[in-house]
């Protein structure tokens, strides 16, 4: 205020010289005297003029004060923003500037029990196009199509994607280039602006069809996957990321997946990366070694041929699954790079259901293979003894109902051993009637029927062991004694999976231990690569993990499964049933005598079974049953066979189901050959002193650069597993 007052005084002083009229009209001029007349006539200094000058100063000060106030508000606002609220805005500035790019970890690989590669990551060479570098996208694609094939659909997709992405985001033109195509493009890169070759990862299954049902396949994360997996892993959000969709790939997905790495990058306002601020490497997923013997698996596939069938071979003590075949199978590789609609339609319209794992999800009436359970139930509950004899006239009458034996003339007088050997229906009709459904069901559940046995694989089905309540609830009628009678030969609502049949066989011959089937042998952790290491370095580290594969002796791993709960069977009863099964395959007139193993020390025991998939009407029976070969394939009986070997010290249990294979004796040769092969391989290994074959590492592994191919595989919904309709009538 003082400041302005001083000005004011001096201004008033200055007025003293006013009347001297020294104003000049010159351009750069100093005062000259060129008086002019005022246009308005007056130039007197009045009292008002002085007052006006004071008023001017007063008002200027008022405005100045007001402006000072406004300026203070600017300062205050600046203070508020940059001091009081600074931390909030600093955070926002970092949110703006720092982008987090996830680094996809290489997926853990899968090996068989001898270290053979079942699933690996392969290099996937892709041609990428960057619009801002390409300029004329269409012309660039034209130029590219002279070198490698670019289909119309590729072209449409690229042009569409280019529209929707920022100009610096690469768009994939072609993937899975072979080496020749890569070199052709690389050579011409100078003439192809905006095109680059990029290396991604592709899940590769070297054994193709043989492992499809066991390993499942990998694909893009679907919304339902995200919900099922909890969705807390940020990797699931990435469009390039692949997860296990079925089989072991799905079950062990959390272990195989690995942990995302992260690269903190500085991005500008349009999202372009400017520089990397820091980097945490991805941790590759665990490698997984399975109990599967891929050699045995492929041998089994040869045996099955093009039939619709399931074969399971497991270690009776450890529960390790050496072979699990579901035929026909699919090639999981077609899903890795995105399955084409034609292939997909073929797969889902095939009447043999190649996408269903019949071993764990196919439901069948167990037929005569269930007689093992009936026999054990009879012995355990005192309904029969090993020496109980019954007469078989070829049929069994209960009240008004007549149940037929498969042999029209009957078996005559039979005991337990002969009943198992020749698969006499009447003996088991009566046994089942004596035991009753409650006790029969209890024994069946001990053997693993009625609910999923808990193999390490998704979508295993439990089948059905009927109870009185179940029938009342589902059919609204009471359980009849006739239901129990037919249940004794494996019909009457019973539904089981081939895996359950193998488990039943194993639980019998291992002395009544509740063994659980296992695909996993061990998980081998991988190390994160150190900062700055080349991608090849990881490859070498992962090769080093083979030592871990070798170090575990097979015998030790197998013994590890010894601690299963005891089912409480009387060893004498177990022996009695096993004698019957051994007779069935090794004595003349045995139902599987033709399929016996003749090598000394490798003999097997087994039980045939067949289950009709349609009811035989009374009319048909009277007209004479048509030979199965003359009726359509899908109406023929299913052929079943369960077996174990060797007979003196059982090691392997095997179940074979051939859909519409007519009779169990058709399935038996498969089990015979497979069991024999398994034992031969053991002998071979014993001869080699448990030396395992060196895993072959021919360099087709992808160097685990944390990228996956961007092709989306459709998330296939599996068709419901087939379940064979069960008939009430016995046919054997």
């Amino acid at each position: 205020m003082k400041f302005f007052r001083r000005f004011r005084r001096r201004t008033l002083f200055g007025r003293n010289s006013f009347s001297k009229s020294n104003a000049s009209s010159g351009f750069f001029g100093s005062p000259s005297s060129r008086p002019r007349r005022s246009r308005r006539g007056t130039n007197f200094v009045t009292a008002r003029d002085g007052m006006r000058e004071e008023q001017f100063t007063r008002r200027a000060i008022m405005i100045g004060g007001f402006q000072a106030l406004l300026f203070s508000s600017l300062a205050a606002r600046l203070f508020y923003l940059s001091v009081i609220d600074s931390s909030r805005y600093s955070t926002l500035a970092d949110v703006n500037r720092v982008g987090l790019k996830l680094l996809i970890p290489p997926r853990g690989r899968i090996f068989d029990r001898y270290g053979e590669k079942l699933a690996i990551n392969r290099l996937n060479y892709r041609v990428m196009l960057v619009r801002e570098q390409a300029g004329d996208v269409a012309a660039t694609l034209d130029a590219l199509s002279l070198l490698i094939e670019v289909t119309d659909s590729d072209r449409q997709r690229v042009l569409h994607e280019i529209e929707n992405k920022r100009s610096f985001v690469p768009v994939m033109v072609r993937e899975n280039l072979n080496w020749e195509e890569v070199s052709r493009v690389e050579l011409n890169v100078p003439d192809l602006p905006g095109l680059t070759i990029d290396v991604g990862q592709l899940r590769h299954f070297p054994h193709t069809f043989a492992v499809g049902h066991i390993l499942g396949y990998v694909g893009a994360v679907s919304e339902s996957d995200q919900a099922a997996l909890g969705g807390d892993d940020p990797l699931l959000e990435l469009p390039d990321f692949r997860i296990g969709k079925n089989g072991v790939e799905r079950y062990y997905d959390p272990q195989l997946r690995g942990t995302a790495g992260a690269s903190r990058i500085e991005v500008n306002s349009v999202g372009r990366a400017v520089r990397e601020l820091s980097r945490i490497e991805a941790v590759p997923g665990h490698d997984l070694q399975l109990n599967i013997d891929i050699g045995l698996q492929e041998y089994g596939n040869l045996l099955v041929g093009d039939q619709s069938a399931s074969v399971v071979l497991m270690d009776v003590k450890s529960g390790g699954i050496l072979t699990m075949i579901s035929a026909p199978a699919f090639d999981p590789n077609v899903f890795s790079s995105g399955v084409s609609p034609q292939v997909w339609n073929e797969l889902i319209s095939n009447p043999k259901h190649p996408l269903t794992n019949k071993s764990t999800s196919g439901l069948y009436a167990p037929g005569s293979t269930f007689k093992i359970v009936t026999a054990m139930a009879g012995l355990e509950n005192g309904a029969i003894t090993e020496s109980t004899e019954m007469a078989c006239p070829g049929h069994y009458d209960l009240g008004d109902s007549r149940f037929h034996c498969w042999r029209r003339g009957g078996h005559g007088i039979v005991n337990l051993q002969r009943a198992l050997k020749e698969s006499c229906d009447v003996f088991f009709y009566e046994t089942a009637r004596r035991v009753g459904i409650d006790k029969l069901g209890e024994t069946a559940r001990k053997f693993g029927f009625g609910k999923a046995v808990g193999i390490d694989m998704p979508s295993e089905r439990g089948g059905l062991v009927p109870t009185r309540n179940w029938k009342q609830a589902n059919y609204g009628i009471q359980w009849m004694q006739g239901d129990s009678v037919t249940a004794g030969i494996g019909q009457s609502f019973l539904q089981v999976t081939p895996l359950q049949l193998a488990v039943m066989m194993a639980r019998l011959v291992n002395g009544g231990k509740a063994v659980t089937p296992r695909l996993k042998r061990q998980l081998i952790p991988n190390q994160a690569k150190n900062g700055g290491a080349s991608p090849n370095h990881i490859g070498k580290e992962m090769v080093g993990q083979y030592d871990a594969l070798k170090s575990t002796k097979i015998s030790e791993a197998d013994k590890a499964g010894g601690q299963f709960a005891d089912l409480g069977f009387d060893p004498n009863h177990v022996q009695a049933v096993m004698r019957g099964l051994i007779a069935a395959t090794n004595e003349p007139n045995g139902t599987a005598y033709a399929a016996r193993i003749t090598d000394a020390g490798m003999e097997m025991g087994g039980k045939t079974g067949s289950a009709q998939v349609r009811r035989i009407s009374k009319y048909e029976r009277e007209r004479g049953i048509r030979p199965q070969e003359s009726i359509p394939w899908e109406q023929r009986d299913n052929a079943l066979f369960v077996a174990f070997a060797p007979i003196d010290a059982p090691r392997y249990a095997c179940s074979v189901v051939v859909e519409h294979g007519i009779h169990g004796s058709w399935a038996a040769p498969i089990a015979r050959d497979l069991l024999r092969q398994a034992m031969l391989r053991d002998k071979l290994l014993a001869g080699l002193g448990h030396e395992q074959p060196t895993p072959n590492n021919d360099g087709d592994d992808a160097n685990p650069k944390p990228v996956t191919p961007p092709v989306a595989a459709p998330a296939p919904a599996f068709s419901p597993p087939i379940s064979a309709p069960n008939g009430n009538d016995a046919v054997e």
Binding site: F27, L92, S269
Partner: protein, 381 residues
């Protein structure tokens, strides 16, 4: 004719005298502000003189020469040519409407070949001169009569209606406020002020209807920034983030992330203060505001010392325009008032603004040099 005669007849020794009289402090302030601006333009382009800094240096040199020339010119010359300058300004405003180039949705620039001229900037000076001259010519009987407002309001309406249709609402508002301030210091009676205020209050709702949609939107977004966080509000949000994250001392010269990663739009023009705040923090921002404050005090001091009414009004008019430009720009980048395309005087990149504002300072200096010259109405002593 007499003008040419006087040009020839002036002895040159008085030119030296005038140069000695120049307020060199003002020259230092303006040069300092321009230097700050050039430094920020260097930062904006990542240390390159291209595309902004070098051009700005050349413009500053041109502006400097014009500033000194204007300062030593006899104040009577400006009194006499006031109407001419106003007329030229008006002509250019019409021309820009007819064939000006359209940039960022507004038709503000006239391409003169060597430079792009923004007539609305030039008009600020023409307007100050003509209002000062009119008030001066009205002499003693200005203050009390409502009628004496008719001419100034008419003088205001002509240019601002042309500016509004460009459209450039920000500059138009600055014109209106500057006019009011000028008439207020010229001695407008409180009675008339009251009447005017009442009229404006009544007219405001009608004016709303004549605003462009984008102008309405700007006002609405200002009232509620979340209305359009990625559209109109985006600039302001990013500007506030930049200023806030600068903190007390800033991120360092050329290290502002918001500006260098392009989150901050138009960082070299309207948002140059934000960039300064981000890189030099609160202290940098306050320092710049302080320099402006000194500049305005200079303006007031010159105005209050000038003997002639014309000189006082010219000095204050220029000060008002400078102040309003600074205030609107800084308040805008801090989200205090709606977004407007108003540059920061001497600092923002832009030829018209820099050169015209320097000519304005030249006028201010001219008033100082001729502070003891008494001018009668119409330029007669």
């Amino acid at each position: 004719m007499s003008l040419v005669l006087s040009l020839i007849s002036q002895p040159s020794q008085s030119l030296r005298h005038k140069l000695l009289l120049l307020p060199w402090g003002l020259v230092v302030i303006v040069t300092g502000l321009a230097a700050i601006g050039i430094a920020m333009l260097l930062s904006a382009s990542g240390g390159n003189f291209d595309p902004w800094a070098l051009k700005q240096i050349i413009r500053f040199a041109v502006g400097f020469a014009l500033m000194i020339t204007v300062a030593v010119t006899n104040i009577k010359f400006w009194l006499r040519t006031a109407w001419l300058i106003y007329g030229v300004g008006l002509f250019l405003l019409v021309a820009v409407k007819l064939q000006g180039s359209v940039e960022m949705g507004a038709q503000r620039w006239l391409d003169l070949g060597i430079m792009k001229l923004q007539p609305s900037e030039l008009m600020k000076l023409g307007f100050v001169l003509v209002v000062a001259r009119y008030v001066d010519s009205r002499g003693a009987d200005f203050s009390g009569r409502l009628l004496s407002l008719v001419v100034p309001i008419f003088l205001l309406l002509l240019p601002i209606s042309l500016i509004i249709i460009q459209p450039d609402l920000g500059t138009a508002v600055i014109f209106v406020i500057a006019t009011f301030l000028l008439l207020f210091v010229a001695g407008l009676s409180w009675r008339i002020i009251g009447t005017l205020s009442a009229m404006v209050t009544v007219a405001a709702p009608f004016a709303w209807h004549f605003l462009h949609d984008y102008q309405k939107e700007r006002i609405l977004v200002f009232l509620d920034p979340s209305r359009d966080p990625l559209g109109t509000g985006y600039n302001i949000i990013q500007s506030k983030i930049a200023l806030g994250s600068g903190g007390l001392t800033g991120k360092g010269y050329m290290l502002g992330t918001q500006s260098h990663l392009n989150f901050l739009p138009e960082k070299q023009t309207d948002f140059i203060f934000t960039m300064l705040g981000e890189e030099f923090g609160l202290l940098g921002g306050l320092a710049l505001l302080l320099i402006y404050a000194v500049l305005f005090v200079y303006g007031f001091s010159i105005a209050t010392r000038a003997a002639s009414r014309f000189g006082r009004l010219v000095a204050l008019g220029v000060t008002f325009f400078l102040f309003l430009n600074v205030f609107v720009n800084v308040a805008m980048v801090m989200g205090m008032i709606p977004a407007k395309g108003v540059p920061l005087p001497f600092v923002s990149y832009g030829g018209s603004s820099l050169v015209v504002m320097m000519i304005g300072i030249g006028l201010m200096m001219c008033v100082w040099v001729h502070k003891d010259v008494r001018l009668g109405p119409g330029g007669v002593e």
